[in-house]
């Protein structure tokens, strides 16, 4: 039997997408993710290994090529990379840290358009004004009844991460809100 054939990843949301006037909700492709935990003393070493400066200000992220490092806590980051698995860059790191591959644990949905922030605010209690949640801001928060990680990648584009089994709920919530807000905006 040919065991060399790599099976294709089947994503929980496949290629689901919803569009309404002023907002789109689109499931994103198969990305790579790493949950990274490390103490303050070793942040520099890991920044170097990962090729991205791990942000140390709460609710901020840093980018480098296809990689985003999101601050989730004083010793916790979520590293997302659309092309390369960040866990590979941690293999030879010689500091006490925890890098855990969670590429398949989460899935991502992109919410974009002029109504994007309002659509997310249908279920997320954070202040998403550009003043308080500017481009690059990120946060582990809630949407409706589930936990999400939210990152603003552009003024009107948000990257929403959630655990795979919650993704149908998150997609349904966002597309329902998108439909309503689009109708509300058209009044």
């Amino acid at each position: 039997m040919d065991n060399s054939v790599k099976l294709r990843r089947s994503l929980p949301l496949a290629e689901k997408a919803f569009g309404a006037s002023g907002v789109s909700v689109t499931s994103m492709g198969a990305g790579y993710r790493c949950s990274l935990r490390v103490g303050a003393d070793d942040v520099a070493a890991l920044s170097q290994a990962l090729g991205v400066d791990l942000p140390q200000t709460p609710k901020t992220s840093a980018r480098s090529a296809s990689r985003i490092a999101m601050w989730l806590g004083p010793d916790e980051w979520s590293i997302y990379d659309s092309k390369n698995n960040p866990i590979d860059d941690l293999k030879n790191v010689d500091v006490a840290c925890a890098g855990v591959d969670v590429s398949h644990r989460n899935t991502a949905i992109e919410v974009s358009g002029s109504l994007a922030a309002g659509v997310i605010n249908a279920g997320c209690p954070q202040d998403l004004s550009l003043e308080v949640f500017p481009v690059g801001a990120c946060s582990r928060t809630i949407l409706g009844k589930v936990e999400i990680v939210l990152c603003r990648t552009k003024a009107d584009i948000f990257h929403v991460e959630c655990w795979r089994s919650f993704s149908p709920y998150v997609f349904e919530f966002l597309s329902t809100a998108a439909k309503e807000q689009s109708a509300l905006a058209a009044r």
Binding site: N3, L7, P12, R37, A96, S103, H104, G123, E180
Partner: protein
Amino acid sequence: MNAPVLIQPNRIAGKGRLSVADPMRFTFDGKTLPALKGDTVASALIANDIHLVGRSFKYHRPRGIVSAGPEEPNALLGIQRDVARHTPNIRATVQEVYDGLEATSQNRWPSLKYDIGEINDVVSPLLSAGFYYKTFMWPRKAWDKVYEPFIRNAAGLGKAPVHKDPDRYSSQHEHCDVLILGGGVAGLSAALAAAKNGARVIICDEQPTFGGALHFDTDIVIDGMDGFSWAQQAMAKLAAMDNVRVLTRTTAFGYYAQNYVGLIERVSEHLSAPSADLPRERLWEVRAKKVIIATGSIERHMVFANNDRPGILLASSARTYLNHYGVAVGKNVGVYTANDSAYAAAFDLKEAGINIPAIVDIREHPNAELVAKAKALGIRVLTGHGVMAAGGKLRVSSMSVAPVNGGAREVIPIDSIIMSGGWTPSVHMFSQSRGKVAYDAAKSRFVPGVYAQDCVSVGSCNGTDDLSAIIDEAIKAGEEAATYVRPNTSQVSISIEANGGNAWEGTLIGAAPGAEAGKVVKAFVDFQNDVTAKDIRLAVQEGFQSIEHVKRFTTNGMATDQGKLSNMHGLAIAAEALGKELPEVGLTTFRAPYTPITFGALVSHSKGALFEPTRKTPMHESEVAIGAVFEDVGNWKRAWYYPKGGEDMHAAVNRECKTTRTNVGMFDASTLGKIEVVGPDAAEFLNLIYTNPFLKLGVGKLRYGIMCREDGFIYDDGVVARIAEDRFHVTTTTGGAPRVLNMMEDYLQTEFPHMKVWLTSTSEQWAVIAVQGPKSRDIIAPFVDGIDLSAEALPHMSMAEGTICGVPTRLMRMSFTGEMGFEINVPADYGRAVWDTLYEAVEAADGCAYGTESMHVLRAEKGYIIVGQDTDGTVTPHDAGLDWAVGKKKTDFVGIRGLKRPDLVASGRRQLVGLKSIDGRSVLEEGAQIVEDPNQPVPMKMIGWVSSSYWSENAQKPIAMALIEDGFNLMGKKLYVPMANEVIEVEVCKAVFVDEEGGRLHG
């Protein structure tokens, strides 16, 4: 619908702000009536000269429209759009007419004009305050059959809808610098000032148009234009600013902690054909840095005999109907007042051609200018007079007038009375914010006193009466709020010029002359709950002293209108009866919601598919395809069993269990909780969390672990794999995943913060396929690379990393069935493909997929516990027969001291044992109680209960596990399980029913 009736007898040409170019039709109790766009149901009914709109709650007295706003206590109607969209108890004064609206009166039978329930008015002495506490006491037996059905039938006014609500409800979280509640002069002025100074502002008003009192007060000129036009212009100016959100038809209903305010926006209730995508209502949850309360004030009614007759309404409401809706409340309108505002209403009506036979003013010396103007307009003014009673029944027809100090009565025919007892500041939101009100004795009113939150009241809700003072106060509040939130913004001052506003003088709280103590009349304080002045006095007479008790005894202020009109009157009457000053008796606390809100808005999106997240494993669709039946386990859908060819559950489970023991079975174990524990101190940490020793667990080895709480009782269990020196793969029960992670994190942060170890949930990173049975190795071997699967290289309770079907795997040799078995962990996105590949091989080998039910049976055959089923939070590892899993040499772990408590080491504790049914066929009921002697008298002494029980196809007999007092010492003893129809005899045995030696694990 019938052809439109074009004549609206009370619509006054040239008055009001609605356009005759926008006609509409609606029905009231089946009759089609004309209306204009912008009408409320109330204004349209009055335009059609209809005042009788409902029957009162208790006495079924005919009732009419009292107000023009949210304070309306009487005009509650059923509003229907279609069969599925019927809403009871909608205030006619708030509901806007849309084309095709159907309105129905309530609480009457057979019809509004002839109502059987009216008998209650005649027998009213039986129905005085607190009647339900007294009347329905005896005989006890009548309660179930007579009293309760009667009360239930009488309770509530409208009819609850029977159909599922088809509408959408939306929700929105929003943050702002300044939230302004109310869009009258004060709110708009504050909003303009705050917005011009750069603040993020939200301003909301419950009405479709901004302006508040400017809807009726046409004497006001602001910035050179009439007040209402100024309000529309101010609103447009605000709406055009990027930093301002303007919300109309939006009621602030609840003021919660830390300036968290709930608003309800009525989005589509005024539209005749709203888009299906448009929510009916939207709930706004606003967090504001500063709240400006500009909620205005509410005019009070006069408490006199028969003051509830249809056609009697508040003076300024009558003015609203005239000046905004272009509708006169009658043709011949009497005026009864203690306040100047009724004069303005009378003048406007008179100037519109309505006959005003008299203004009855209880004051001896009202404002001379007003009296003079009345006289100039030809209106008779009776100062120092009161209305002793209103005549008429379905519609007021006369007022009986007499001097306040006694004297002859004069009956004046009228078809409407407008009244004013003065104004009550709307301190509802302030009070909800936990602010304390202060009593303003000079004007007999409560105003905001001590603030509890970051908010400020402006305008008439703050007791400010003068128009210029209101504007100045509001501008100052707006500017200060903006500066407070954004101290570095340079200040911009605004000025608003206003003229013509009158600070109306005069107030009356409590009963008016003619309704004093001793007078047997129905002078209503609370219209909606049928509370009269007499009822309040009766409550005091019966010993109630606190206003909170008086309120509950009489139900004054407890109706859906929340006492907006009645609270002050009730308080004054109680204070008088008690002989106390008003502030001593106190004001009842205002609570949310300010006005009724729908359940739909509160539920918002959380219904249907979004009620709760439904969690599915990566293999779910493949399991559906092979016919799995699913069960709910928490939020998860788990494959329960896989029936084939018409099998019932029993047959399917028997086959699955048999096939797995004799051949091979596969099972989706993906929902197991998984935690990756990483760091140099990982082993040390797990050694403290689990009762088992972990320091010496070798890399590539597995260990079954138990974790206790501090009290020594089992909290969760699972298998732990050591992936590397500093990395463990921990599994938990499906339901335990979040709480185990929380508990571990809690200990890590509070008890062991010195440890270098981190926890990451990987529950959903890995799909888990258990392949179990004598042929399990043969099945998976062809697909596995990089792992030696032989019993020597990979014995029971060990693991290795390699690939399966070309994808990376953590392959664990372990078993929850007692058979040789493997749990294959693959990254979740590959789970379905690997499952499909293995299933094909399993099927080709005549194996099967098995579900959670068979999993339960297979593990019970081996006596493996399920935490939460065979434990109940009071079971120690020893009680569960798991003493071997507690490290005897360990000096510390969570629960070590708890386990030494005297009652946990005492003999006679309930211990987990097996049970055999003596008859060889009776399957016990889980949860059934166990006794020693079935012939003892009831209540029997119960010595334990059945925790797990199944038919075992493999053992060919029923098997059960039970927690029984001193169970370990009862081996072989006969006990009894009394059931409803029989007593089942059982024998205590070891909780192992298949392969007692455990040899099958090691094949």
